[in-house]
């Protein structure tokens, strides 16, 4: 029988499967029992099935910095993460509320009157000094104000089990393909685990996204808009996902040179000639999108694309300039933005964040940097983060000097003891820290995709869950209301 370890009693983190006394939480009772019946060899065998399937199907990501262009299979942990129906309903409402407010904020900045800045909710200088603020997007409206069609909101659970928002990803959040492939892999490797639960399906993403993308097509596009996904190409780390989404939606997967712009209309180069494009779901960053407007050395983009976008003949999703709203420096203001635009109390709280350009907050943070998490606002993928309690005195001194030199570029967050869940490590299931990235789709309305990508730090004690830094993932089950295990059983 495989040993299923709960968190140490003195650990601060919230263990999702076991309570403080070491008893299995009701939500996890059936799955823990089922896993307890497998010995380590059996779990390894099933892990092998998943690994082999991922390799055969080419479900991989490319490792950057590797001259061989190595494709690594996506690491998936066997033990699933469960979310109860009632719990999910709360998360769902919270996410829809948050993304709605963020889209309102983006519309306010780029096509509105800048009301939130004028009313002092967010300092105008902070918005305009953001690397993500894009002058080229000024005056470019998006149907339904869906600046962010696809959002990935990173959630963590604190020591009390409360979900909190760690980061918003409003530019090019990736990972949805792994959510769907994880479910398929779980089904192949553990065909009987579904007997105990009714789980919300995940196969409908392609349809959901396509409907949203169709709804943001320009008015001249007719009822069958031509949608394409713009990828940097096969060497991009997320190429698998780009191809997956094109297949799931039934749209063309294009690279920059496949598109050409003439008189502010974007065309697709086909063997039959040039065909006008209505919606571009781009998976390349703003700065590579159009060498005329941004980086002239970009070979990934399409010359003249921004002109077409400004002329309103094509919709680019997510919209250009979204980076301003997911700037880590803006994050602390999002709860106020929810109150401001929607007149509602935020359902999901933020991870407590201190802004370094406020002298009081900065000085208070300097007093206890070794207890905090220091983040550069412009990085992603877990890069550049200093976790105070693991840092040397020298690293802390360096961080302090960098903050003093450019306070706008840094935020400091309270440590959240990310929740843990049993994960396969060697031959035992040990608790490992995890987060959750649900995906929120906005077209005519805002919808939350059930579950999301659970990322898990496979190194003991590590809080860094990014796949580029050795993190894995878990299949994430949102239980359907009728399938919920009654409390107390």
């Amino acid at each position: 029988m495989a040993e299923l370890q709960r968190s140490d009693a003195d650990q601060l983190a919230y263990d999702e499967a076991f309570d403080r006394d070491g008893n299995v939480r009701p939500l996890y009772a059936a799955i823990v029992e089922r896993f307890s019946n497998f010995d380590a060899a059996e779990l390894r065998r099933r892990e092998g099935i998943i690994e082999e399937e991922f390799r055969r199907q080419g479900i991989t990501f490319t490792v950057y910095g590797d001259s061989q262009g190595t494709e690594r299979t996506w690491p998936m942990d066997l033990f699933p993460r469960l979310i109860a129906a009632t719990e999910w309903q709360e998360i769902e409402r919270g996410l829809a509320q948050r993304v709605t407010a963020l889209n309102r904020f983006l519309a306010d900045i780029y096509t509105g009157e800048g009301a939130a800045m004028a009313d002092g909710v967010v300092p105008a200088w902070l918005v305009h000094s953001s690397d993500g603020f894009e002058r080229n997007a000024f005056g470019v409206s998006v149907p339904h104000d869906a600046h962010c069609v696809i959002a990935g909101i990173d959630l963590v659970r604190d020591a009390e089990g409360q979900y909190r928002v760690l980061e918003d990803n409003l530019r090019n959040p990736s990972g949805i393909s792994y959510v769907i492939e994880n479910r398929a892999a779980m089904t192949r490797a553990f065909p009987r685990v579904w007997e105990d639960h009714t789980v919300e399906p995940v196969g409908q993403y392609g349809r959901m996204l396509r409907t949203a993308l169709e709804s943001v097509a320009p008015t001249g596009a007719g009822d069958k808009p031509l949608i394409v996904i713009l990828t940097p190409g096969i060497y991009n780390s997320a190429y698998f996902e780009h191809a997956f989404l094109a297949r799931e939606m039934g749209v063309e997967l294009v690279e920059g040179p496949d598109l050409v712009v003439d008189e502010h209309v974007v065309y697709l180069r086909t063997i039959e000639g040039l065909v006008p494009v209505d919606v571009i779901y781009r998976r390349i960053d703003d700065t590579f999108l159009d060498p005329v407007s941004f980086r002239p050395d970009s070979t990934l983009g399409v010359p003249g694309l921004l002109g077409a976008m400004r002329a309103g003949t094509v919709t680019v999703c997510n919209a250009v300039g979204n980076g301003v709203a997911d700037d880590k420096a803006i994050h602390p203001y999002v709860t106020d933005l929810i109150r401001y635009y929607l007149g509602e109390e935020p359902i999901l709280p933020n991870v407590e964040t201190h802004v370094m350009w406020e002298p009081d907050q900065r000085e208070a943070a300097f007093e206890r940097l070794d207890e905090l998490v220091i983040k550069p606002v412009g990085e992603s993928g877990g890069y550049g983060i200093v976790i105070g309690r693991n840092a040397t005195d020298e690293e802390l001194a360096n961080a302090r000097a960098e903050i003093e030199a450019d306070p706008r570029n840094w935020v400091v967050q309270e440590v959240v003891e990310l929740s843990t869940l049993a994960s396969m490590c060697d031959d035992v299931l040990e608790p490992r820290h995890l987060d959750l990235r649900p995906f929120v789709i906005t077209g005519e309305r805002t919808q939350v995709f059930p579950g999301g990508l659970t990322r898990v730090a496979m190194r003991k004690g590590s809080l860094i869950v990014n796949s580029s830094q050795g993190g894995g993932s878990k299949d994430t089950w949102v239980l359907a209301p009728q399938g919920e295990t009654p409390a107390g059983t």
Binding site: R55, G220, F244, D262, T270
Partner: protein, 330 residues
Amino acid sequence: MILARHADSLLWAGRYLERADTIARCVSVETNAVMHRQATEARLASRRLVQALGLQDEFVAAQVGTGPYAVMDFLVSDDSHPGSVVSAVQAVRENLRIVRDRIPVELWEEANSLHILMQSAKSVGAAAREQTGGEVSRMSVITARRGCRSLSGVMTESMSRDEGYAFMEAGRLLERSILTVELLKSGLGTGSDVFDGNRLLAFTHSLQAARRELGHSPQWHAVAKFLLQHSQMPRSVLWCLGRVELRLQDLAAAAGAVATARRRAGALRAHLEYGELDELLGQPEAELAYLGSALAELAADVHTSTVARSSLAEVHAQFVRPGDGRGRPQ
């Protein structure tokens, strides 16, 4: 509707698939022969095969060893040149990877699985492969042949007969025709390394079918007629060209740029179908040289037809919207 770049990838995926299949088959035939021959003789014949496959330069550059299985290894597992089975399979996989969103999932998975298997044989290393008496390469050949058949089956049974299929099939059949003509050349002459009729038929997967018509010891001339002009044999150049012409005809309806290639395919098909082949084969070298270059030009034409016309002057005249055929309202 198909992207020009995707059409090109499918064309090349088809060509490389045929190439991997043909080289693996030739090596398989040769390997059986090697075991029954003196080393020097076997090596000479293998060199002739290298020549027939157009890999002389790569062979010299690769400094292939002198062991009895070195040539086979060069043709199967050596990825330092693009002409080996392992390289061709990799090229199939890379081209299909570019279009993996539009081809059947199974087609991609078969190509990916075959690539992984071939890479694992490659990773053994040339010296170790030689030590096994060619065993590793022999297994790779079996794997490659099974894999190619499987790919071919998925392609035939699961792919929509759309433009993508047309390009992939055209690629396969053109490559097959080109290789058939090159292999036929290696049966001309009088040296001890010249392939006999049965060997040529085995290389082109036609031995069984030809035996019923030509008997057990067919002469080169009869084999050449069979492989060039047979109307029902999917390995014959005439049969291949007939299919290529049909595919190009489908494409030309929508893509005007294919018209040139279609005309050339038709002319070449007519040359084989209605030409006096007996007379033409009176000067076999000249006729094969003509066919070789005509097929190469045809392949180049098909490739060119996938290159998108980017002249913006054409935009206003001919852009189309799938479904309603109308342009964007101004």
